[in-house]
């Protein structure tokens, strides 16, 4: 068996009695106790996640902007110059030539000639190879920041919890969503993957366990990958490897809004996406709520009036008390559908995403009961 990689918080997780799992080659906590309780605490108060397995890559050079405008489907030109030390962030896909999604990522504009990319752990090698493969054309330097840990503090009380632990808590408190700033040698962003307000902190790995303990002392509850998954699904956020991969384009998995078809900006995959738009996109992403008991799982067949689809990821929603899922179905599909669970057709309601946002249920459960 391969030796699993450990984050700087590995020992903190063991000390807390976490149940550790292999997640893309990393040993990470799936839960410390009840994952449903962890989920709920993020919706109503504040939880913290060790996301140090995420890959942090800094790219720099005089021509880094044209480099990223070519490689990313969203347009980093939207990221204006930083003002008062505040950097802007953008969610984007990185595509291959046929429009397939190599990865989804967040890009921060650190300065005139440098950007930071946060990419997935499981796609690390592929992404680095891709980024490096295009770097020479633009004389861009690609540097992986393996020495940094990353802690996501999420929930309505995230700002108040983190503030006093920072050198400049007041400045961070006023950060708008999807912006970030340096805090001495930390990098602090108002981002997350839960559908709640949240702060993500990138800091030297050696400082991570102290921050973790300080956050705990300020009532942040340690949460594992289990809660992270149910939270992101309720928030209607895609997970790379399940809801999207190289076999789909952003047009087929609910991410068309992240593609900037700005005039005169060629980017990798653009021609393929435009061709697909001309001929019509055959499938779309929808949200499902299962009526009654049971849990929707990845791979379940979805029967619609327009043909079959697939559940790309499903779970039990602690907020709704029902099973929810993201599914890929024929574009013409409309209204309720049936999902095959252990050979049995079960009714599911089709809904617009997200299911939950900022602690509030965003779908009509009454309708789902009909």
């Amino acid at each position: 068996m391969n030796e699993l990689k450990r984050t700087p918080l590995y020992q903190s997780h063991l000390d807390a009695g976490a149940r550790m799992v292999d997640f893309g080659g990393w040993s990470l906590p799936v839960a410390y106790g009840s994952q449903i309780e962890e989920h709920k605490v993020v919706r109503r108060a504040v939880g913290m996640f060790d996301v140090s397995h995420m890959t942090i890559i800094d790219v720099g050079g005089d021509r880094v902007r044209p480099y990223l405008r070519w490689l990313l489907a969203n347009d980093v030109a939207k990221l204006g110059a930083s003002a008062n030390g505040v950097c802007k962030a953008l969610y984007t896909c990185m595509l291959d030539e046929v429009g397939g999604i190599l990865d989804d990522l967040i890009v921060y504009r650190l300065g005139q000639a440098s950007f930071r990319l946060i990419v997935n752990a499981a796609t690390r090698e592929k992404d680095l190879a891709w980024l490096n493969g295009h770097a020479a054309d633009y004389s861009v330097e690609v540097v992986e920041r393996t020495e940094l840990a990353m802690v996501a503090v999420q929930g309505p009380r995230a700002g108040a919890t983190v503030g006093p632990l920072l050198a400049n808590g007041a400045a961070v408190a006023s950060l708008a969503p999807f912006t970030a700033r340096r805090d001495n040698d930390w990098f602090v962003a108002r981002t997350g993957y839960t559908g709640e307000d949240g702060i993500e902190i990138m800091l030297p790995g050696a400082r991570a366990s102290t921050l973790w303990a300080d956050l705990q002392a300020r009532s942040a509850v340690a949460c594992g990958l289990g809660a992270r998954d149910t939270l992101r699904l309720e928030a209607g956020l895609n997970l790379y490897g399940l809801d999207m991969d190289e076999s789909v384009t952003p047009l087929e998995c609910g991410l068309a809004w992240t593609v900037a078809f700005t005039e005169d900006r060629p980017f990798v995959g653009r021609e393929a996406l435009e061709a697909r738009r001309r001929t019509g996109v055959a499938v779309k992403q929808i949200g499902l709520i299962l009526e009654g008991r049971g849990v929707l799982r990845s791979g379940f067949v979805v029967k619609t009036g327009a043909g079959d689809g697939t559940v790309t990821s499903g779970t039990f929603s602690p907020t709704l008390g029902r099973s929810i899922a993201l599914a890929r179905v024929p574009s013409e599909a409309d209204g309720p559908c049936d999902v095959l669970i252990r050979g049995q057709a079960r009714r599911a309601q089709t809904v617009k995403l997200p299911f939950v946002r900022n602690g509030e249920i965003k779908v009509d459960l009454e309708t789902a009961d009909d």
């Binding site: 149940r19 799936v30 839960a31 009840s34 994952q35 449903i36 289990g226 149910t230 008991r293 049971g294 849990v295 799982r297 779970t315 039990f316 252990r342």
Partner: protein, 131 residues
């Protein structure tokens, strides 16, 4: 550490079987099983008075993570299902050997329980799984 009480028998499928004074068997899943499944959200139970064969699927426990079949460790007739689990499946997590029992069964052959694992056998099985 996982708990393995010595007042009952176990199966390789991580179920426990406790013989009551009246000869009826109470059946549930072990502490190890509930921990591996994580938070339970639904429990499907057998119908009372159904006759069940040994090794037949007679319940399903479903967690946030996965659905898992529960097999009848012995042939017999279902006498009772733990209906409290419909509203509180988390009892299986919080008290797998007590309030979280799944169903009760009158065995066709009362001596068959002797063939199941005792607590030491089961502890050994878990150690082997760990390796």
């Amino acid at each position: 550490m996982t708990e393995i009480p010595n007042d009952r028998r176990y199966t390789k499928d991580h179920e426990w079987v406790r013989e009551q004074d009246d000869g009826i068997l109470a059946i549930g899943i072990t502490d190890h099983a509930q921990a591996a499944l994580g938070d339970l959200v639904f429990v499907e139970l057998p119908v009372v008075e159904d006759a069940i064969g040994s090794g037949a699927v007679c319940a399903v426990v479903e967690s946030v993570k996965a659905a898992s079949d529960v097999y009848s460790p012995l042939a017999g007739t279902i006498t009772e299902a733990n209906t409290a689990l419909a509203d509180a499946p988390e009892l299986v997590n919080s008290d797998p050997y007590g309030e979280g029992w799944l169903f009760r069964l009158r065995p066709d052959s009362p001596t068959e329980i002797e063939e199941l694992l005792d607590n030491e056998d089961y502890a050994r099985l878990l150690t082997e799984l760990d390796d």
